[in-house]
């Protein structure tokens, strides 16, 4: 059942993070795909309709963008919903994400530098929030998408308290 080591049950493996994200996140990913790739596709189609001479050259891009849009609409959100999980313990933040490329990350609470609950316009519409936990490393941040607004804020407050207790400059 584990996403990363199901072929090798006989070696140490990590368990999944305990908590799942909101189901609404699927809608969020779909809307996001529509906004990005849907608009691009619309622009290409409009260009192809209005501008006769380039129509030949636009056929391949339109086909490609359509395929990407379909994958992003019909496959990615469900796949991501199955993969994305999170958990915050006393000592660490643990999250898994991705679809084609999956990843799990663990950051110790003692190294946390900032904790933000970020809400973009689409997320506000759906009452969702992204919890962003950064460490001193510029690649070390953990983004947990698709949390309920209040859940994310509670988690952020809790983490901020934990992080403040740790000493040192967290590098």
């Amino acid at each position: 059942m584990h996403p990363l080591s199901d072929d090798h049950p006989s070696v140490p493996s990590v368990r999944l993070p305990r908590l799942r994200i909101e189901r609404r996140a699927i809608v969020w990913w779909m809307l996001r795909a529509l906004l990005r790739w849907g608009l691009l596709l619309a622009a290409l189609v409009v260009a192809a309709v209005l501008w006769e001479p380039v129509r030949v050259w636009l056929a391949a891009p339109i086909a490609g963008v359509s395929a990407i849009l379909l994958a992003k609409l019909l496959i990615e959100p469900w796949w991501r919903y199955a993969v994305h999980r999170w958990e915050i313990t006393e000592h660490a933040t643990y999250a898994s994400n991705g679809w084609l490329v999956r990843e799990w990350r663990v950051a110790p609470s003692s190294r946390i530098q900032t904790v933000d609950a970020v809400r973009g316009p689409l997320e506000q519409l759906l009452g969702l929030s992204t919890l962003r936990v950064t460490t001193a490393s510029s690649y070390g941040s953990i983004d947990i998408n698709g949390l309920d607004r209040t859940t994310a804020e509670e988690a952020a407050t809790r983490l901020a308290v934990v992080a403040e207790l740790s000493e040192g400059d967290a590098t």
Binding site: L4, S5, D7, H8, P9, S10, V11, P12, S13, V14, R15, P17, E87, T89, H91, A92, Y94, G98, L100, V101, R102, E103, W104, R105, V106, A107, P108, R111, T135, A136, S137, S138, Y139, G140, S141, I142, D169, A170, T171
Partner: protein
Amino acid sequence: MSTQRSPGPTPAADGEWRRLSVRVIWVDLVQSVVSLLPAVVAIAVFQVEVSFGALWPLIAVAAWGVIGAIVDAVRWLFTSYRVSESDIERRTGVFVRRRRSVRRDRIRSVDTSAKLRHRLAGLRVVAIGAGQQTSAGEAAFLLDALTRTDAERLRRELIREGAAAQGAAVQGAAVQGAAVQGAAVQGAAVQRAAVQLTAAERDLADSGRGDESGPAAAASVPPRGSQARGSADTEVFATLRPWWVVYNLFSIWAYLMAAGLLWGAFWLASSFGMNLLDVATSLADWDELGPLGTIVIALVFAGFVGAVGMGVNFLVSYWRFELARVRSSDGSFLRTRRGLLSTREVNRDEARMRGLTISEPLLWRWMGMADTNVITTGLGIWDLNEPTAILPRGPKSVAREVGARVLGVPSPLEVDLPRHPRAALRRRLWWATATAGVVVALVALPVATGAAPVWVLWAALGVWPVCLAAAVVAYRALGHAIVGDYLIVRGGLMSRATSALRRDAVSTIAVRQSILQRRLGLSTVAAMTAAGWSAYEARDVAAPDAVSFAARAAPGLIDEFVDPEPASAAA
């Protein structure tokens, strides 16, 4: 604030605004005069016609020099800095006033450097690095320039280096022969050191808290056999071997340097009425050689000029290079000193060091060429002056030896790293094939329609074996291990980098798997840290080993998430 009054030139009590050295102005004046000289010489000695058309390069040089000097003088007028107990502050700017303050406990490095003009005037540029984002690409704080004694004193104040650096300070004072000023400086240093020591409440074991004479003896510049003490606390790891110049002749930058040198020579000569193009044309019968011969000769000649330029540049900038570990009462520093005309000294706090990287460029691996960089927080990796490089480009044997002395014995960089699984090679071969396939597909249509000649297709097909060879090289570079307190990762195609990173510096662990990696049973383990490149990856580890490697790379971090049932139970 009570600090509005004009800052005095001599340093005084804590919190006083201080100015940069007034000698900056003199340097500016000299620079103006020197930049006017070529034009004067051209007119007076070579009788060049006084017109804009003939003299414009020299006029440009003069304008650049004079305007630069004026701007610099204005900057001097409007810049001041002060050191308080908790911060160092600087204000600068004419139209846009900028004020920057850095907390002293965040200061991670204090570099001094000097261009030739600074050295002649006894000045030093002080760059203070804090833990700012490395991507910003600038030192947190630049003071351009202080007198040598002031710079040395400021450095000591900020990083509280003990007796080890005193030798240099004594020398500086002696050279300048300013006994009175020196004494005043020392007095101020003593005072500040005392404040600091009581404020910090540490390092007092041997110097007597609260007793003025105790800190004075430890932190100021009394004769007290400081040279002998200095040598006892300084451990020299490497000095320049002139033959290292061989490693620095060949680089892609050689051609750029050649272009610059030849261009400069051409313009300089044309200002004095010589046309180097005519000279070059008369040297050989280029028509007979044909275009190919001409190009080959030009490339060889430019390469030669560039290599000589690179060699001279290397020797000038690394002359009297020395890498040493300097111990003091509160920690040790890795210090490099180098430079013939411009000198540069960088002190890297070892408490901030997280490891070491040795990278070997692919094209020169046969001659054992290696770059050595420390992994440390607070030093920019994109800085052109490469503050993280503790050795110039040189032989790998020296890099390894220095690595062993910096990291401790047994050196984590010496271990043999086991090969990664064959699947990692297969993954690279697939990617190589895909890359070659894309190239072929891109040229296929133009060739099929006759828009491009057929040999383009063969050339595209020729990309495939090159990609496959690159895949094998990249696979053979892979390696990872845990040795003592360090995790070791090795990888990279064009430059094979072996990095040893302290395990306690790992701030985030990430394990990644793409679809292809899942099929092949591979994972990439990334250890994130605040230092150096921020992420150090062991690519394509066998998936079963990934979790145990991750667990050992960051001790205790992921233990609570590892499946509770023992590994053997499922087997």
